[in-house]
Every structure is written in C-alpha cells, then in structure tokens.
C-alpha cells in the first residue's frame, strides 16, 4: 500500500543550519499491516511519519500510496487525501480544548459536503469504536489523559481511513491507559486497517499480533 523510494528530507537546505533528517529511506508497507517504527528521539521517525501523512514534502525521493505519487500533489489534493485515507493521532493529542468531544470528533468531516445526518452517523460510530461515546458532551479540557487519547482516536477514525498513523501515542499515558490503547490498536488491525506507530515505548516490543518492527537511527532505517 505504501511505497517509499529513496526518500530524503533535509531541513533548511543550503543554509548554515542544514539538517539531514531522513537519509535515503526505502520502505514498503502492505495493506492491513501493523508497522512499528522504533527509535530514540531525533532518529527521524516522527519526520518519516509526517511525510507518510503528507504533512511535509520530501526533499527528493518518492512516496507512493496505492501507487499514486501523493508527495507531489497540490495542497487541495493532499488535504483531500488526508481526509479520506489517513487518520493521524499526534503525540500531544492536539484537541480543541474549549470544545466538547463531539465537536472535536466531527472537525475532519466539515470540509466534505456531507449532510448533517451523515456527519452525526459517522461521529457516533467513531466515538463508539474509541469508547468515548459516553463523554460526547464533555468539554475536552475536563477529560483525563486516557480519555483525551480516545477522543483523538475517535477523531482519527471518523472518516473511516485505511491508514492510521500514531506519533508516540503512549508518551503521555500511564501504564493502564497504554494497555487500553494497545487493545484498541489490535481491534483496528483486525478490522483491516493499516497502522504505523512511531514510538520508543517498550510496550510495543513483544506484541502478540503479527507486526513488522523497523528500527531507525540517525535518519536511516537500520533493521
């Protein structure tokens, strides 16, 4: 499903503080696969994730999703692609603190020309999947860490994307919530979703479901 060929990412190219974040990455991710990107901070895994999410553009190399070169699309199309195919769960959850859960979850659906009923339906399904339905009217800043996480998950799932990307998902969670998170991931994987997780948490080291482990260091894939 995802093919990365000879990808490089250089920040501040040709300037004094040039930083070569990703060096000649080659990676293939199959449909329905669960991929764990392991590496310490600064190894480039977040950068790679953001490139897969089409949030930043590579300096050179190709990113093909379903055989379409998405890295070089104009903004209108990358946004459309992101809405329809990708669910992104960032490290700091990045929710609208002053809005309630339901309003947060439906944000990705707003630019699509859906009717209110369709929106409500999708939102309810997503909230149920993430197990946050019971808090749908609660303002986000009053939620606990784990609940915020689940709100972010619901938001990522609301448009039924094929690809789910998580950036250090357990970094802000305690042990109990991390385990809960793992459960949700397993469930999603069973539903056929392709999942890529960038993490350095050891909880992902010995998983009991089929997965691929990729180590990164200093911008390169090691194993």
């Amino acid at each position: 499903m995802i093919k990365i060929q000879n990808l490089n990412k250089i920040y501040n190219e040709n300037k004094q503080n040039q930083f070569h974040a990703l060096k000649d990455i080659n990676l293939k991710v199959k449909k329905g696969e669960l991929l764990i990107l392991k590496g310490v901070s600064g190894s480039g895994k977040s950068t790679l994730l953001s490139i897969i999410a089409v949030l930043s553009k590579p300096t050179n190399g190709k990113l093909l999703v379903n055989d379409e070169q998405v890295s070089r699309l104009p903004d209108f199309h990358t946004s459309l692609f992101r809405t329809n195919h990708i669910g992104f769960i960032p490290q700091a959850f990045n929710l609208f603190e002053s809005l309630d859960v339901q309003n947060n979850v439906q944000i990705p659906l707003i630019p699509l020309n859906l009717t209110q009923e369709q929106i409500n339906k999708k939102v309810n399904i997503a909230m149920n999947l993430a197990n946050i339905q019971h808090k749908h009217n609660q303002t986000v800043n009053l939620l606990s860490g784990g609940e915020k996480q689940r709100c972010a998950i619901a938001r990522a799932l609301v448009n039924n994307p094929e690809l789910i990307l998580c950036d250090e998902p357990t970094a802000n969670l305690d042990k109990q919530n991390s385990v809960k998170f793992l459960e949700i991931i397993k469930q999603l994987n069973k539903l056929g979703k392709t999942i890529v997780i960038a993490t350095h948490d050891s909880i992902f080291d010995n998983l009991d479901i089929a997965h691929t482990l990729v180590h990164m260091d200093d911008g390169m894939i090691i194993a």
């Binding site: 190219e13 300096t59 104009p74 903004d75 209108f76």
Partner: protein, 321 residues
C-alpha cells in the same frame, strides 16, 4: 465638477475602487514574481512557497471579483442619483453621456467582469487538477485583467471629474430617439426585430443543448446586440407603460422595482456563459458542459422577464402599446 465629487455615492465608489486597485497591485506584483519562477515539477522549497503565495493571489482576485460584481450596479445607482444635479438629466442615461468617457467606461466594466468570470472558471478547474495545468494561462489572463483594471481606474477618475454641472446633457428621450425604426440594427422595424429576437433565442437553446461551442459564442454575442435594442425600444416601453419612453437606465430606478438590474444581469450572465464555453474550450481543449446549461437558464430567465411585462400589459389593458 466638485459637486459631483462630493456626492456620497461617488466618494464611496471611488474609495472602494482605490482599495481594490491597491489589492490588485499587490496581486500583480506577486503574480509577476510567481510566473517567472513557477515550475510545478520541481521539489524545491521555493516552489512550495510559490504555491502558497499563489493562494494569496487567488484570495485577492476572488475578493475583487465579488466587490466588482456589486460595484457595477452601484455604479449605475450612483449615476442615477447624480441625475438630480446634472442639468437636463432625468436618469443615468443623461449622466453617462455627460462626457465621452462614460459609455466606454461602462463597456469596459462589463468586459472586465466577463474576463474575471473566465478567470474564475479557469481557476476552479486549475485547482481541481493535480498538477496546476492552467497556472500560466491563468496568470497571464490575470495580468491582462489587471491592465484593464488600471485603465478602468483612470477612466473612472476622468469620467467623474469631467461631468459638468453647468452644461445641459441630453436625456434618454433624445438619445434613444422618439422615432421608431431609425437607429435599429439593419434598419429593421421593431416587429421584425422582435421576430429575430425570439428566433435567436430558440436557436441559442438548441445550440446550447447540442453543445456547439463556436456557434454558441457567435449566436450569444449577436443576441446581446439584438436584445439590447429590443429591451430599449420595445420591452422597456412596456415596463414604463409609455410607448415613447425608451431608455435602458430608467428601469434601474425604484419606480420600476429595480427590475432593470435583473434584466441586464440575466442577459449578461446568459451571454457570458454562452461565450465563455467557447473561450474555455479554446484554452482547455475540452468541453465544459455545465456552462451551456447555465447559459440556457439565464437567457430563458431574461426572455421570460421581458415577455412577462408585455403579456402583463396586454392582460391588464386588453391592447398592446
């Protein structure tokens, strides 16, 4: 002259034209920059920056178009209000002919809206495509529009500063002639012109349904010419309910419920969509189906409004004028 320039409407109009001009200059400078360096295939951060900058240009142009669409009827409205201080004028017709610039200015404004309409359609298609195929054409079209706008601004100022409040202007009754048949296209009389009017209308509908671009453009342009005369010399008289009152501007006044704006707008839109389908097909080498439908809708609306007034008069009074 200074009386004109102190009219509320003129001040507001010129102020807004100035604002839009300033925005357009910004967009123009950016466009020049972008069109020089644009290369969609490259991966450099400069190109990404250019793509982002292009959005500012698009935003400015969108905003300018919306404002200019409102400014055209507002322009007609300001002229109408000036008719009370320009001696001899009883409606905008007299004010427009107060100097040589007026009619050219009006035509130029309509032309600018036309080109901006084409730019809008082009832009919508450009963004939908995956590699900005029409970017350069779009930008050159904008540069052309900008030059027109510059020229329009100069004409705006020349026009308003040259309206005299001392010398008499001719009113519509003199401009548009009281004698039927003189000044009509091809020296036809009004009956034959009307037949032509309706025949052309049917032809346009057919051509549009068949999506024949070139014919559509030709018939629509011709139609605009014929329709103008029909409205002034025939349909207008039914709006004013006076066989000698022939004027394209008086119907913009409140006495007639501002119907003039609707009539001219529907005619303009119908003709615009008809002609633009041809122009776009030239540029893009592909058919734009929706445009034909819009053309039909607006031309039909136009014919409906015009015919309505004639029929209404007949039903109320039992005779034709």
């Amino acid at each position: 002259m200074h009386n004109i320039l102190f009219s509320n409407n003129v001040i507001v109009f010129l102020f807004i034209e100035t604002l839009i001009l300033i925005l357009q200059i910004i967009a123009f400078v950016l466009s020049l920059n972008i069109v020089k360096l644009w290369d969609f295939k490259s991966n450099t951060s400069t190109q990404y920056k250019l793509e982002k900058r292009a959005y500012l240009i698009i935003l400015i142009i969108f905003f300018s178009i919306v404002v200019k669409i409102f400014m055209l009827p507002y322009f007609a409205f300001s002229l109408d209000k000036l008719s009370t201080i320009v001696p001899g004028a009883m409606c905008a017709a007299g004010v427009i002919t107060a100097n040589d610039y007026g009619q050219y200015l009006l035509v130029l404004k309509i032309m600018i809206l036309f080109f901006m309409g084409i730019w809008l359609i082009l832009n919508a298609l450009d963004i939908k495509a995956k590699d900005y195929p029409y970017f350069k054409i779009k930008t050159w079209l904008f540069i052309l529009i900008f030059l027109f706008i510059l020229f329009e601004y100069a004409l705006d100022i020349l026009y308003y500063t040259n309206i005299s409040t001392d010398s008499l202007v001719t009113c519509c009754s003199t401009i548009y002639g009281v004698v039927q048949g003189t000044g009509l296209p091809f020296n036809l009389d009004i009956m034959k012109l009307l037949i032509l009017f309706y025949l052309l209308y049917i032809l346009i509908i057919v051509v549009n349904i068949q999506k024949l671009a070139f014919l559509s453009a030709v018939t629509n342009s011709f139609y605009m010419y014929i329709a103008y005369y029909c409205v002034v010399y025939f349909f207008g008289t039914y709006i004013y309910e006076l066989p000698t009152h022939k004027c394209p501007f008086c119907m913009l006044q409140s006495d007639y419920y501002y119907i003039g704006y609707f009539i001219w707008a529907s005619l303009f839109l119908g003709v615009f969509f008809g002609i633009s389908s041809f122009v776009l097909e030239l540029i893009l080498k592909q058919n734009q189906n929706k445009l034909y439908i819009y053309s039909n809708i607006f031309i039909s609306l136009f014919v409906f409004i015009c015919s309505f007034y004639v029929l209404r008069y007949y039903f109320i009074n039992g005779v034709f004028l």
